[in-house]
Amino acid sequence: MLRTWHSAALPLLCIASGLWAQSAATNSAKPLSDRIVAYTIDAKIDVNKKTVDATETLAYRNATGQPQDTFPFHLYLNAFRPESTFSLEAHEGGTRGGGENKYPPEKIGGITVQQLTVDGMGDLTSAMQFTAPDDGNMQDHTVMQVKLPRAIAPGETVTFHLKFHDKFPVSIARNGYKRDFIMGGQWFPKVGVWWQGAWNCHQYHASTEFFADFGTFDVKLNAPKRYIIGASGIPTGVEDQSDGTQTRSFHGEDIHDFAWAASPNFVIADDTYNSSMGPVKLHALVLKSHVDQTQRYLSILKNTMQKFDEWYGPFPYTQMTLIDPEPGSEIYGMEYPTLITAGTSWLDPAWVLGNEVVTEHEFGHQYWYGMVATNEFEDAWLDEGINSYTETKVLASLYGPRTSVINGRTVAFSDLEEQRTMYLGNPDFDPMTRFAWKFVNSSSYAGVTYGKTATVLTTLEALIGEDTMRKALHVYFMRYRFTHPTGTDFLNTIKEVSGRPDLDGYFAQAVSGTAVLDYAIQDVASNPVTWWEPPKGKNECSNGCRDTVTVHRKGDLIFPVIVEIRFDDGSKVREFWDGRDRWTRFTYLKNAKVISAEVDPDHLVWQDKDFFNNSYVVAGNHAATHKLANYWLFFHQLIAQGLAWLV
């Protein structure tokens, strides 16, 4: 039996040792972020009407350093109306899942804030106003602001109480419902971010994502018992209700968003990953129609977590939830803090790594977006692009550099090639640094934000080395996790770690500019020195040859390259060219002819838009032409015979 003083001392000792302070939601003894927000949400999901009725309490701590009397809120669900900016942009320029041309009633979604009160200030429902800070479209309704009767002093906390009603649209742009599956993403009023001296609360656009402050979430979700719910954070309780429903509670810490998914068709599969910070529960909710894909999901999740832990930094949360989305919905491939939606198909063969690519990518967002919480509206490349780059690295490490997407018997495709292909589709319209909603169209947004960034960062390895690049990303993650860094922060980190302040020249062209990189072997010639004399014997170069190789910089982007020249006497030489002039010529006097010349022989400059003109082989080889021509011939004979069936 303990003496009394032991009983008193024990809790103090536990606090001192950190045991009492150990978070259940993270493997950290102390908060990981500067927690600005604390959300408490109590929601009832109507699975038949696809609606949610909820109350929200938001405690906002004024860390802006200034008094604040106006607070903007995101009301993202209002984007799913034909009058919204999102719908107009999707109709004109496309969005994931294609452009929208029809708006039947089931596609309309929305969020209505029925009441807003503020502690100590009363009912401010009538003080809410829609704003449109980006395009002035007052019908948009995805941003609302409320002006308080008195300002909140720096350091003070203001508590908002909101009552709201959601209507989910049929699956559109990573949101909504499909059959009896409901995705609760961007479903609650979310306060904007005070960033760089001003409120940053953009409208929801066809090609934008999200931006919010770190904090805590305590969410209760009520739904019929037969529904299985996966959510951000960790589950903290289940309570049966008298009406046959069940209320499930969740808690999240040091996250900036909260999402959930509900379906009666989930099959739960749990596993554990032992991260460097402690165990992480892997909670997979896989649809019955995809149960055979469960191990693929868990395997890629674990392998990806291991790579990220090893290369970039630890994963601090105690649970990672993976949702297998409803087939035919647009809810696949999306990230939320500690919850991702992946995507697979019953037809997915093992040699097509679609499942793996999506899962890896969405987990990668836990780092680039989830913890390094960049502004996805204004710096989309910092999360999608960096994530696409690390995706190529992780997948190459796991599945081979050339076979990380397709590993078939007769065909291969790598993730890096896929990124480059996306980039080459739209190489010169928009810079990486453009605000996400200002790209010329959705295709350029995707090609540049994902593909170009991955290609540029891969090309950067040619200047600083792959190991240095990895180290730079590690430093960037560790330094800026749980904050909101900018593109300048990222690029400065690279320069600092690599010791290369001169990288600004490349960044100005590749990151902030639209210049295209393209080097070509212009011509190759071997002429006898005594060209006026007839050749003696078969070897024209027996008296010496003047060998020339001309390299042309066809693109506007200046980048130093290596050129390798091979001769028929077996020798080879590598030359360095800074690429500043439009062309350069290498000349040799040798008793040998040039047989081939190649720019970038080590294949490091992935940003080059044309790999086919990078080399020239004097003696032609028709093997590839004949092989491809055979396919074309077969294909057209088949089409002709098919057309003949109409006769």
Binding site: W346, F612, A629, L633, F634, H636, Q641, L643
Partner: protein, 338 residues
Amino acid sequence: MAGLTGGDAMNHENHIVGTKPGSILTGGFVLMCRNWRCLTWTFFINLVLAAIATLPYVAQLSALLDHSLAAKSFTGRLDLGAYIEMVGHLGERPSGLWNSALSLDILFAVVLFVFTPAILSIFLGDEVASLGNMFRVGLRFFWRMVRITLLFALIAGITLAVLGAVRTGLLNKLDDIYVERAWFTWALITALIVGAVAVFFRLWFDLAELLTVERGTYRIGRIEDRAVRRTLGPALKLFRIGFLRLYLSFIFVGALGAAGLLLALMLWHALPPGSTFLAFVFAQIGLFLLLASRFWQRGLEVAWFDYAGAVVTPQVAPIVAPEIPPSYPEAPSDPLPA
């Protein structure tokens, strides 16, 4: 002179006259083999036209690949990223590669407007299988083939469009209930139903073409009938004798051709990546088998016609000479004619 029926008037020396329906498969096969020149000429033209369509493609590929080290991406396992980039570079050159190739594919279909009636005529035994005859006879029936095809496009097109719309509507409804494998099963079943109807139309109009050629051929006592629409009803009647047997035989032969192509493709796929010549050989074998199955189908239709044709071939009114009264008394007591 005895009345002549269409059946009696036909010169079917080249036919295997099938008294039993079960012999239409072998009958059709024998017809195809006996008139192998038709098949080989048709295949030859298919190959030549596609080869012409390939020439500009080869020229562009050569310019891009023959002197580039990047071509290694295609000589072994196909590098899909390199292939996509290559297609992009070809697309930068305004050569109309695709359009010119498609035009030649369409030209082959046009050639078959000429060859089909000739092939049918040859199978019917009315002509000798030679390239000259194929053009000569075929050109006679060219516009009739065009008209039949237009009728086919109209009747089959409308019907299949309606069926397709019904299928789409049904699958959209089923999408609310079924997913993945279950939904795919429904999609496959409904596709097979629509496909079965499409096959029926194809077979019906094949028979209509056969009757068009048969009726359009000059024979003693027959008036050449150029009205293709009058073959549709009789073609349908040809099914009456044994619809399922004919229909299933038609599908069976088509399936054999498809299986032959598939087998050739599998052998192609199994080759080492650099075996271009063998790949070409296997591809051509597969395409030849596919075309041969179409000829076999035509043969079995002719064999079926032989078996069932007498029922539906229009009977020409017999030429009956008027009775001529005797010009002399048949008996001594008969009065003399006036």
